[in-house]
Symmetry: none
Subunit: 196 residues, 4 copies
DNA sequence: GATGAATGAGCTTTCATTCAT
DNA sequence: GATGAATGAAAGCTCATTCAT
């Protein structure tokens, strides 16, 4: 078994356990059991409990960034790009629900309590939106007074809050993809230059 | 000292301590020390640690709802109402920063792990936005296809994510009130009926 | 209300609560609630929790001694006296079941852990049996080699162990009075001089 | 060190500590210190404080039963068997004084407060006496009207109450073995068929 | 590298007792 | 005398982390 296999097994187990119980209620032994390794083995791959969370966060956000950037490469229309971003983001909920739950929670917890940790990967993920907005302004689609630094957070926040609803309630009257498009629609209408 | 004084002293102390250390890292003795009461005294007013958090949440959200509803009473224009809501919401960050931090965190934690707890007060707070949107649709300001149930969460999420930035980073290049207005502007433009 | 009334109300409440939960699991506030007084009031009549138990023990054993001595006064036959003692002792179970349960438990606990406390009342109660045995030896009914100091404890132990069965199991196939007589019968047959 | 060693070390430490302080006054840390293990180690072998007590009780009564049954195997005379039982029972006081003290106390406590716990081992120990009595009735030694179910408890109670005296007072004017024989003598005389 | 038994610091909660009213 | 809010010491139990095997 390659080293990276154990590392990944533990990470995947941690996602499951954190999603189920939350970071503070999760025990190392839970993760060890889920990953089918000994408790002590976890400390061969991670420094401590926090480290599992942070590694997990960085690694998984990293993968998400790669995937969404790949999707966006094929597109040049900023309006469509924003929709792709939104649909992909919300799609994570369907495909990696447990991961989304963990990222949601930990986004609000870890970076506050692990002071040393600057959440650069997450900022990189947000900046994709800022770049799209800037591109849209350069191409004359979006109003010049729109502030990309605000939109990137507002857009993410809007999508994320909807995710939270699903993560909690399991079922909802809203369809995931439709919701992503509806939110995108509002932001696009909110940002476009009006010809009237 | 009136009974309510002790209750309130403990609540306020809990807000400070939870904001500083987070719910799980906060010790009862921290709260007791901050409130200048004995550890045991806390249990005369609250059933357990979770109960402090939930009571605090309900009470404070309740007060916020009362205040924002009072502000909205004087206004009938849905566009201005939405801005009032946003400005007031973001204003909390200036006036009750610690409280906002606690509400932020706990919104993502407690209702997931305290299954019995249905966060009705929070939903009531969100529904204010839904009501404004519906009102705007009735008056013909907002497009009929806009879904109030999505907007209420998207709008809250957008504002809240901006709050999170401030709560974390202490200083920011963005002005709180300006940001509230900018986000409102995008949503309003996104929702209004266009006459072209 | 006379002073002694409060004292007695507390004692009676303590009997109930100790019987229900045991000494260590009983809370002062339980007793206070049962006695319908404030927690603090108990400390006007008793020094501490142990003191309630000891006072209760002394007082109630004292009453039992008085009653059984009164019954025995009318009788001179040692054989009948022993039966009277046994039937009265077991009868307590019917009339003051809760008290018996408390005395049972505490007999095994308190005098071990409250070193200062010499359980003189209890010894006085046992000595009634020793006196009956000695009387029976003097009258020539009982064998001279019988040791009253052992019989008093063995007889009490035998009766008490039966009590314990009832106190625990609530219902039993054995009748209380019949059992008292059966045990007495064995001890009497065991002690009498045989004429063969 | 074998697993069973730790388990046994803790059990033996618990016997010492419970005998010294009683179950409720004994702290887990006392037992841990006595056993020379960490507090947490105790919870690797026992579920909780009660569990130590119950395990201890079951295990030790189990051993006592085995030993006395072995002794009784060699004997067929019910009269001698009863004496063997009594002498062995009282002998425990000499050889395992602390254990006897613990069993004494807990017999009066645990099964009352740990409702789930049915004290089957103890009943098995008592039933040895009932079996002897029945055997004696079958062989025509003991009177037919003697009730084994009562004798088993009365006999145990008589012996146990004497034990209690020693356990408490440390020294006594009575010799342990002589006392066992004296009590047995009374019960045997009390039960035998008289030829007059 | 892998294991999992052992550690012991840490924390919530309880409750006997006090004392200002 | 009576009250009951307040106190704070105390203890059972958990669990992240270590380390001998």
């Amino acid at each position: 078994m390659r080293v990276s296999d154990k590392h990944q097994k533990i990470t995947q187990a941690a996602v499951k356990v954190f999603a189920r119980k939350g970071f503070f209620n999760a025990r190392i032994s839970d993760i060890a059991k889920e990953a089918k390794v000994a408790d002590g083995t976890i400390y061969l791959y991670f420094n401590n409990k926090y480290d599992i969370l942070i590694s997990l966060f960085e690694d998984e956000i990293g993968k998400i960034i790669l995937r969404v950037k790949l999707l966006l490469e094929k597109e040049t229309d900023p309006l469509k790009m924003l929709e792709i971003y939104a649909v992909h983001h919300m799609g994570l909920l369907r495909d990696q629900r447990e991961l989304v739950e963990v990222l949601q929670m930990e986004l609000r917890q870890s970076n506050k309590f692990i002071k040393e940790y600057r959440n650069t990967k997450f900022i990189e993920y947000l900046d994709i939106v800022a770049d799209i907005v800037r591109k849209g302004q350069e191409s004359g689609h979006f109003r010049q007074e729109i502030m990309p630094g605000i939109v990137k957070r507002a857009f993410f926040g809007a999508l994320d809050e909807m995710s939270r609803l699903w993560a909690l309630s399991a079922k909802s009257k809203y369809n995931v993809e439709e919701t992503a498009k509806h939110i995108t629609d509002i932001f696009l209408h909110g940002m476009v230059v009006r010809n009237s």
